[in-house]
Symmetry: C2
Subunit: 364 residues, 2 copies
Amino acid sequence: MPKRITILDIAHRVGVSAGTVHRALTVHRALTGKSGVSEPVRAAIIAEAKISGYRPNYVASSLKRKKLRVAASFPGLTESNRYFYSFIWQGFRDYAREAGDYNLELIELPFFEGEAGQAAELDSLIARYPEGVDGLVTVGPIDRRAAPALMRCAEGGIPIALACDDSEGLARLGCVLVDHDVTGRMMAEQIFSQIGPDGAVVLLAGDMLVPAHYGVVKGFEAYMADHGLSNELVKVYGYLNSEDLKLRTIEAFRKTGRFAAACCVCARGTVVMAEALRETGFAGKVRAIGSDVFDENARSLREGTLTNLVYKDPYGQAYRASRILLNFLIKGQKPLSDTQFVESVMVFRSNLGQYESGSYRGNL
Amino acid sequence: MPKRITILDIAHRVGVSAGTVHRALTVHRALTGKSGVSEPVRAAIIAEAKISGYRPNYVASSLKRKKLRVAASFPGLTESNRYFYSFIWQGFRDYAREAGDYNLELIELPFFEGEAGQAAELDSLIARYPEGVDGLVTVGPIDRRAAPALMRCAEGGIPIALACDDSEGLARLGCVLVDHDVTGRMMAEQIFSQIGPDGAVVLLAGDMLVPAHYGVVKGFEAYMADHGLSNELVKVYGYLNSEDLKLRTIEAFRKTGRFAAACCVCARGTVVMAEALRETGFAGKVRAIGSDVFDENARSLREGTLTNLVYKDPYGQAYRASRILLNFLIKGQKPLSDTQFVESVMVFRSNLGQYESGSYRGNL
DNA sequence: CTGAAAGCGCTTACAG
DNA sequence: CTGAAAGCGCTTACAG
């Protein structure tokens, strides 16, 4: 066990005080600019740190420094989104708890659709803490007003980690999301391994302006193109207006000859798709893959209306986004890659239990 | 921000010294017995800690205390097992690194088949560190001699966390494994969604004495029974002797009428199964699900010899077993459940990349 | 059984 | 720009 090098060892060897070593080595935080050490001294200290293999003890450094103020802003839990976002909050809280003793001040900022939303919440963050916020973890901009608000945070110098969606042009520390292309391809691979070459597929394609929807649809079509599949593909667009979507979905089911499989790229649409399958009597007779695991979808899978669900690991997205942010704030470490993907997983009736509430991969 | 309660706050309120509070509150470690505080004082301190909502700062406590000596013993990497166990080692190292500043002494004890193996390595551990080892993370007993050696460690008072397999009657802190029943059922669900009611299945069933093999086979059969499936099921046993297994597998493929799908419950057997499929010309013509993701199997999946692979998350098993051990040693926290399951995941060509080396879910 | 002191490796004012 | 001192919340000898 070679003794671990400390800041004091370096101070002795270079012939300066511990404080100076500290100033020279603590580049990352704050203004990222100069830290008040003359260039030659700084160089000597950094050289000595390198050759002696110095590694900071972050546990010790957290003890005396002031709290790191970390804000988490995700959609608040409502009736319709509580499944997905309760996993998101849980992922954040679990990682924050693992890092709990590192002297953090955690601020939770849920936002809701009806009210001001993500943009207002982010703007209020800066207003409420004039002394500054050290980091922010949130979801990619939920609407058009959120993107500029996020940008203002970044320009205010706040390190940001995103989950679920990225934000074009934003200088963020990292982003964790699901690979939509892989998701779409996997859906197609499963569907076309189960229906014949003349079976038609109805695809509930969501909203083409939502990257998460568009990406999955593109992946699905790319798989078909790559494998020379010429099955008929009927796309039904729509997302927010469930009643309207249902009517058009039912119509598509009825009008499509050799209707063999249905797929949906989004959570809400999957609920609609399952209802449409039940009401038209196609439930259990055609293959059907939906998106996201929550009570209603789980029931549809169990009863056989759906044959599979695609899981996008919200817990993992938030856990890892939080880890990116906190590792940077606490240890100055940037992620190996500033875009990380969680797994896209195909859920079966047999392993559904693994993805339902309570069985987080966290589960400390 | 209410000020966080410290050991000194409690000392003042109870009218004792910080040292006494420390002694009263630090029950878990060492002999778990008395800690040298009189009963009334101890009770007063514990009561005050409870009502004031005291939570220890483990970061601070790690600073001055002596190192926690933690041993990890997993199979060393050889040509044949390097895929699975490199993920295992990686999972351990990643979690150990996250906890790295908590003043740990990590001991890595790889073991190999030809030599003394797990039993000898565990026994040498006790011999080599007469001052004691604070914790051990390892795989469930790999052979008959390993179980009693593990037992000796536990009786020596070493907290143990297991990955991959459990050990009957062992007083261990926790165990992380894959749910074999779920795995077998999921394999069956996928297979029978793709073949007709008269298709026959050849199942490479491994060794009935290995719980990981037996459990998957039972799950597979349970699924068939639960769903009233009467497809012919031809089981081929065998595990270690690849040549022999291959001959018998080929024979089974050839002799089985309406041969429609092949499945294998173990990693080595899957390699044999893929070869047999290729050599008999059945590759790509029947459905085939194998076990575990590593180069050879990945190639078979990509080329179409296999249609799916089942992934048992070795990285997650070791990461979580390490977390169980270290959370106990550092924070005195026992896991919510002493048996935890990682997910059984069905891997497709489309999402294979997520499970290949380098794309650990860790990926810090 | 209990206390007082020193110290873990840093960071933070405060002087100069 | 640099140093010396104090202190973060614990744990560990050392006395008594």
